[in-house]
């Protein structure tokens, strides 16, 4: 093998190893950070694992928001057509968070059945509802069970 050939082989080999490393790095990071979306009825029926982070979406049930008086812990119930899930969150809620509003939360399910959110999103403006939430708010026939005033706004 000549010197140039050996050098070229090393170069190609090096490039290949580098590329393989980059791709595997990207794909690992990718699969680790995919967040699935579940809705309250899926959680209530026990389809959702308790050890991974995921997104949940639904309507904040009327009169369900409770605050601790001394810290920033907030509790509320998130519901779709068939079921509801208790949610706990510590921190500042977004501007558009209110009862009857569709929201998306990020977090984990506790073994006891509470969803502990680390991030709550209520996006953009009140005429807009996250498509995930809108879909979650439909029953099997695709009919929305949102309060009618919310439907009108969409």
């Amino acid at each position: 093998m000549t010197r140039t050939r050996r050098r070229r082989l090393l170069l190609v080999g090096g490039l290949f190893v580098g590329l393989a490393a980059a791709v595997s790095l990207a794909l690992t990071a990718f699969s680790e950070n995919l967040l699935y979306f579940y809705q309250p009825s899926e959680i209530a029926s026990g389809q959702v694992p308790t050890d991974t982070r995921f997104r949940i979406g639904g309507l904040v049930e009327e009169n369900s928001v409770e605050r601790n008086s001394d810290d920033l812990v907030v509790r509320f119930t998130l519901s779709d057509c068939d079921a509801s899930v208790p949610v706990r969150f510590k921190g500042t809620l977004p501007d558009l968070f209110r009862e009857g509003q569709g929201i998306v939360a990020y977090g984990q399910l506790e073994p006891g059945g509470d969803f502990v959110a680390d991030e709550v999103l209520a996006k953009h403006d009140e005429n807009y509802m996250s498509p995930d939430v809108a879909e979650a708010m439909q029953d099997d026939q695709g009919v929305s069970c949102m309060p009618t005033n919310m439907q009108a706004q969409r």
Binding site: A22, E32, L34, Y36, F37, K90, T92, L96, P131, E135
Partner: protein, 657 residues
């Protein structure tokens, strides 16, 4: 009446754009000078028409003409006049009009500069830009007409999204779009190269200033976007890996690769096909960015199902532009003279090749994370999102070697550099960088850490090597440095400033969510924040609760902050305006959460060291690009181009014979 004039002007612009694109291409095919000569006047005419349409829509906003549906949806009589004008680009239809008006402005600039280009080249470039304009005009006129009327007219408009009522938004989209559309010029030059079969040093000399100009605008646009998000979203963050941000960042990454690869093509006559491919990709990503943000795909793929015309048109347009260019590329690019000289690893072109690989792979990683959720949703694979940790994990390992390269490339010569030369020139910057990395966090913040030090060494390295290059060139010489050299040094130093900012704000940034009643105080990073209470204030189109915070350091008052919670009258939306005490070495940032029982509020307090360096770095890089743009060599092109024209004529004549 005036909206109808605007609408009519759009139709005229479409006619002129058709002329601008079809006739010159015919002229090239048949070698007819009269057809070629049409391009520039048609471009000027198209600009005038689009300017008329743009002014007409602006006037409809200014005069609160709510019979125009788009105005009624995005404006309100209470909205201050400057936000009414900025509302022109507050949503889909108006953004498209802005896009096309800017495209026409770039065409006008090309037409104005076309006297220094061979006529075939100038006409072909304008023809390609005209074709893109036709695509956008048809889309606007038939699916997204900003001048559509609605009678009876509503008495009041629905108001501009309050998130967009910020000075940052007045200038951010035009800058971003100037960048997006600017890459259309580079794209048009690339297509011209494919049609005429010529990529030589003259071609790169024409293409480079346009590409750099587009890159400068895009850099400013992306930087302003980050600054706006920091100010307006109230979360104290400067980048969220949101699809909307990624949409502007991908063309930036590929555009940066393009600038560097153009340099290699000009200086060494290699990487020709690659440069052309990058120009096509940069524009394709700009198109993707425009459509992703404004067409509603991000909000829901299913929005396309309810209004399929827009979605189908966008996909078809994208397929024609990208597919057509790639087809042309596949047919014509193999004919470029590739050059036979091998590229040495220790040479400037060798490192620039690495730079291109890193930038393009980074862009591909961002693309995967941005588009995968959309594709998965469209194909019914479930609703998925990709979190910011993915982007950080992919992006940071790719950018670290890139910044190391930035430093080495500046001192590297073309063709081949001996390792001893590198060693003799790089040890001083390396020492400076290490000293800076250890001392800067310690002196400015009184603390240190491995990650922060590593980041500062990296940033210091980029700055120190840029300075070394400039200092060495100036030593013992009275002549002024070429502006291109100064520009490059500044742009690279900007990268260093940016990296230092990112490292320090990531390592030492702190935040605290706390419940505060009037008179109570909270501490963060050695600062005491005392909440004095809120007062009620009425703004032009909103009512506001303004908080009052006294910030003390070692018992001494250093700032008073007034974060706001606004409620906009027309939409009823609530918005947070953060209170920020900006500084070179740190920002103190307070935002009001929500009112709790009694007079208490939930409050977010942030300490953001060196966060300004992030945007300072971006603007410094843009300034570097601007200085490089003013280099003498581009102004001398008139003389050079004339000789080239003669040369081309001779060549066309031989081809005919």
């Amino acid at each position: 009446m005036i909206p109808e004039i605007g609408h009519f002007a759009l139709f005229l612009a479409l006619g002129l754009a058709l002329v601008q694109s079809v006739l010159p291409l015919y002229g090239i095919a048949r070698n007819r000078a009269d057809c070629l000569a049409v391009a520039a006047p048609a471009a000027i005419g198209q600009f005038v028409m689009l300017a008329v349409a743009f002014v007409a829509l602006s006037f409809a906003f200014y005069a609160n003409d709510f019979s125009v549906t788009y105005v009624a949806q995005n404006s309100n009589t209470e909205l201050p006049w400057f936000y009414r004008l900025a509302a022109v680009w507050g949503a889909h239809e108006g953004s498209l009009l802005l896009w096309m008006t800017l495209l026409a402005s770039w065409s006008l600039a090309v037409a104005a500069a076309s006297r220094s280009l061979p006529r075939e080249v100038a006409s072909c470039v304008l023809a390609v830009m005209g074709a893109v304009s036709v695509g956008f005009l048809v889309f606007t006129l038939f699916t997204s007409n900003p001048f559509a009327r609605e009678f009876p007219a509503p008495a009041e408009g629905r108001d501009l999204n309050p998130l967009l009522q910020d000075p940052g938004l007045v200038i951010h989209p035009p800058m971003l779009y100037m960048g997006y559309v600017g890459f259309c010029v580079a794209f048009a030059f690339a297509i011209t190269a494919l049609i005429t079969g010529r990529v030589d040093s003259a071609w790169t000399r024409w293409t480079r200033p346009w590409t750099t100009a587009a890159w400068v605008f895009l850099t400013v646009g992306v930087t302003l976007g980050s600054w706006w998000a920091y100010n307006e979203l109230g979360w104290g963050g400067w980048w969220f890996w949101d699809p909307v941000e990624n949409a502007s960042f991908m063309p930036w990454l590929v555009g940066t690769a393009l600038i560097h690869s153009l340099a290699v093509t000009e200086k060494r006559g290699i990487f020709k096909s690659w440069t052309v491919l990058l120009a096509i990709t940069a524009f394709a990503l700009s198109l993707l960015g425009t459509f992703l943000v404004r067409s509603g795909v991000l909000i829901s793929v299913h929005a396309f199902a309810t209004d399929p015309t827009r979605g189908v048109y966008i996909l078809a347009f994208f397929a024609v532009v990208v597919g057509g260019s790639l087809l042309l590329y596949a047919i014509r690019a193999p004919r470029f003279d590739a050059g036979t000289e091998p590229v040495a690893a220790l040479s400037r072109e060798g490192l620039l090749l690495l730079n291109n690989i890193f930038l393009v792979v980074a862009a591909a990683g961002v693309l995967l994370g941005t588009l995968y959720p959309i594709l998965a949703d469209a194909m019914g694979m479930g609703r998925i999102s990709v979190g910011p940790p993915y982007f950080n994990k992919v992006f940071i390992p790719l950018t670290v070697p890139l910044v190391v390269l930035v430093g080495v490339a500046a001192v590297m010569a073309w063709k081949r550099t001996r390792a001893e030369v590198l060693r003799s020139r790089l040890w001083a910057p390396l020492l400076v960088a290490i000293a800076l990395g250890v001392l800067l966090p310690w002196l400015a913040l009184g603390t240190n850490g491995v990650v922060a030090a590593a980041g500062c060494v990296l940033g210091g390295w980029a700055i120190a090597t840029a300075f070394e290059d400039v200092l060495r060139r100036m030593r013992g010489r009275r002549v002024k440095l070429p502006r291109a050299v100064v520009g490059m040094a500044l742009a690279h130093a900007g990268v260093g400033v940016f990296v230092i900012g990112v490292s320090l704000v990531t390592a030492f940034g702190a935040e605290h969510d706390v419940r505060l009643a009037p008179g109570e105080q909270a501490s963060l990073a050695g600062y005491d924040f005392t909440f004095k209470g809120t007062r009620h204030v009425e703004g032009p189109n909103f009512v506001s609760e303004i908080g009052d915070f006294i910030v003390r350091e070692d018992g001494e008052q250093i700032a008073e902050l007034f974060p706001e919670k606004r409620r906009y009258n027309a939409s009823g939306q609530t918005m947070t305006e953060s209170g920020i005490d900006a500084g070179i070495f740190r920002d103190l940032y307070v935002s009001l959460g929500e009112p709790l029982s009694g007079e208490a509020w939930s409050v977010r307090i942030y300490h953001r060291p060196f966060v300004r360096w992030i945007w300072a770095g971006g603007f410094l890089s843009a300034l570097g690009g601007l200085i490089a743009l003013s280099d003498k060599r581009y102004r001398r092109r008139e003389r050079a181009a004339k000789t080239v024209t003669a040369d081309t004529r001779a060549r066309v004549a031989t081809a005919e014979a």
